[in-house]
């Protein structure tokens, strides 16, 4: 293996150790970590993300910044364990270090006082929606939040969202908690009843963002989505994250991650997210069958 590590030449490297200080399991698959990263904590704004690499063999994966504290020099990330990289990350324990974190990346949310704002979020997308809801509230908006998940056990950040919302709704696909149905249904009934939203933020799985976008389209409500396509470098170099918005090709890492929902080509986004499943399965298989399984990575 060729070594590319600058650590091998120690005296001049600026120590950037991204140590995990706290770890919490939000659901069986969704975890939250607080990480020492003072430079990023100082600059982070709602809507931005980081790209991290767990170890020397790791992928660069984008994760939304959920929280940041200048005083303690920490950032908070939430991730769902799906592939090798997120499972490796999930194996890391408090005091373990993440190899690399680059950020903050992407453009911050365009947060201002719109008036009445809806924040519609689903699944792990709630992690990305929370800082935006918080910022909208702080900017003086009346914030109505609709939080959804497939089932009760997958709901995250409920208390946090409640705290920054003037009104708060929960939906689950199976009705195990809150209203049965999709977040977009609840949004539609709110619009139909009495609410004149000035802005709607929709963050979650692409299908959920698409259906929310279709709900607001006939009313002409400004609707913003935060997209999470495949990314490699996260700084405009690879073009893997290109999305079609209003007929033009945009890079989610550079021009986004937030875009006008009504102009976003969700079909293309969904297709482009489906490129690597065979490779993902192969990688999981490779690591799970290796001695010690995936978690050996965290112990290096």
């Amino acid at each position: 293996m060729t070594t590319l590590r600058l650590q091998d030449a120690p005296e001049n490297e600026i120590p950037t150790t991204y140590k995990i200080l706290e770890k919490e399991e939000l659901t069986s698959q969704i975890k939250q970590v607080r990480i020492h990263a003072p430079e990023i904590a100082e600059k982070a704004k709602a809507g931005q993300f980081v790209i991290l690499r767990v170890d020397d063999e790791g992928e660069r994966i984008p994760l939304t910044l959920v929280g940041w504290e200048n005083e303690t020099g920490t950032i908070t990330l939430i991730f769902q364990e799906v592939g090798v990289s997120t499972k490796k990350l999930g194996c890391l324990q408090v005091q373990d270090e993440i190899k690399n974190i680059a950020g903050p990346l992407g453009k911050p949310s365009d947060v201002k006082n719109y008036g009445l704002a809806a924040v519609v979020c689903g699944g792990v997308g709630t992690a990305a929606a929370y800082p935006i809801a918080k910022a909208l509230k702080e900017a003086g908006n009346t914030v109505i939040s609709i939080l959804g998940a497939r089932t009760e056990k997958l709901l995250i950040l409920e208390d946090e969202m409640k705290q920054v919302s003037d009104e708060f709704y929960i939906t689950t696909d199976d009705g195990s908690r809150g209203r049965k149905g999709f977040v977009s249904d609840t949004l539609k009934s709110l619009i139909d009843n009495k609410y004149h939203f000035d802005v709607v933020y929709a963050i979650g799985p692409p299908l959920m963002m698409r259906s929310t976008s279709e709900v607001t389209r006939p009313y002409g409500i400004k609707t913003v989505v935060s997209l999470n396509p495949i990314m490699v470098d996260g700084m405009g170099m690879c073009g893997a994250c290109r999305v079609s918005v209003g007929g033009a090709t945009k890079f989610a890492c550079l021009d986004g991650p937030e875009f006008d929902a009504h102009n976003t080509d969700f079909e293309e986004l969904i297709r482009r997210l489906r490129v690597y499943p065979p490779e993902e399965r192969l990688a999981l298989d490779f690591h799970e069958k290796a001695p010690g399984g995936i978690c050996k990575c965290g112990k290096r």
């Binding site: 060729t2 070594t3 590319l4 590590r5 600058l6 091998d8 030449a9 001049n12 490297e13 600026i14 950037t16 430079e39 990023i40 600059k43 931005q48 690499r53 063999e57 790791g58 992928e59 660069r60 090798v84 990289s85 490796k88 190899k99 690399n100 974190i101 680059a102 950020g103 903050p104 990346l105 490699v232 470098d233 700084m235 405009g236 170099m237 690879c238 073009g239 893997a240 290109r242 999305v243 079609s244 090709t249 550079l254 293309e268 297709r271 482009r272 489906r274 490129v275 690597y276 490779e279 993902e280 192969l282 990688a283 490779f286 690591h287």
Partner: protein, 495 residues
Amino acid sequence: MRETLMSNPWASDGQHAVQMKKLDPQIRVRNFNEVAQGYNEEQALHEAQRCLGCPKPRCIGGCPVGLEIPAFIRLIKEKKYDAAIRKVKEKNSLPAICGRVCPQEEQCQKYCMRGIKGDPVSIGRLERFVADLERDRGTNIPRTAKPTGKRVAVIGAGPAGLTAAADLAKLGHTVTVFEALHVAGGVLVYGIPEFRLPKKIVQAEVDYIIRLGVEFHNDALIGRLFTIEELFNKGYDAVFIGSGAGLPTFLGIPGENLGGIYSANEFLIRINLMKSYKFPEYDTPIRVGKHVAVIGGGNVAMDSARCALRLGAEQVCIIYRRSREEIPARAEELLNAEEEGVTCKFLASPSRFLGDEQGRVKGIELVTMKLGEPDESGRRRPVPIKGSETVIEIDTVIVAVGRTPNPIIQSVTKGLKTTPRGTIVANEETGETSLEGVFTGGDIMTGEATVISAMGTGKRAATAIHRYLLSKDKDCLNSQVFPHQLTNLKVINNR
């Protein structure tokens, strides 16, 4: 090695250059090992003998960093290899890299007197020889000038930034390089493949710069993590921007966002930077189908095509809109690609991509071109022939039609003037920008160019930054050494 020389009947007749051994195409196409094997001592001595040692050498003028070519070759002739590499490093901090990837045939070697009647002296191969020899034996670190107490922030650890950083460190300044990716090297690590430029060689050159005292801050995307203004607030006295031409250009034709269509940048970043050719040992995947089309005719296209073959493609075809004569890739790279089985389709240009039901690319519609009148670049303009559309079946496309400047820094830096094509406006000789204390070089100043030209701009900017710091604060700077005066620095061996 004797065999190599014997099998090369032109080894010492003066007219022909000593050939360099390459891996057999059939074997190399199955791995990522370095193709060109470099000279051994005997070959290097033979080739060095061919240098006429002209009293007024024209080759130096062809080198963007002004390497004193006859002088270092004379030292090879005398077997003074340590002195030879020292002579090279006076001007070039990255010789093992330049010896491999410089287009010498367009630069120094173009002006070689030997080239008038026969082959020019293989200057690049000789440069590589002394650089590799030194690395094997242990690198010498020149003593740097007395610390000036001045701090310089260099943005981007590519060829321009690394060169500027090395020169400024030698002059006694405290230098921090801010690199956005997780490893230093820029295009040398994310762009140029292992088989053309092994990454351990880049790392060795970076290590050399680290040992000159330069500090590296990776994972730092300037413009997002810190602004230029914040760098000054942090106590840096000058800033060098070498953020490169990192943005991929797309063709802007229908179907370009189908699955299976990569920018060359994405394809090469996955392979070179993320090592997806070692997937699943490394976590980043890459998908290469059976029939691959590479759009474009530059060195990046050649690199992409050769990577695709190594990743198991059955057929790889380069599609270029002009003819073989106009192809911008180095002749050597086109030859290497063709030896390995890459085919070329000239005078053809894609008009749209066709996809299957899953949204994956399955074909390209090509238009046949003819060459018209020369355009502003001096090359004959390709003109589409109406009604000539044909469709070829492919399952993977790599778009290698150029890169544009990374816009992040320009978009957040007030007062930094840019050109309509997105490069930073600067004095070509000094790299001075519209902002005081801010200098630039490399592709972000010139647009996409070569490694060595980026190094040349980094070098000139380092000199200008030194002068600037000197003019700002004469007391602090007792060192008045300029790069051309570094020749007499003593060398300490670190081993």
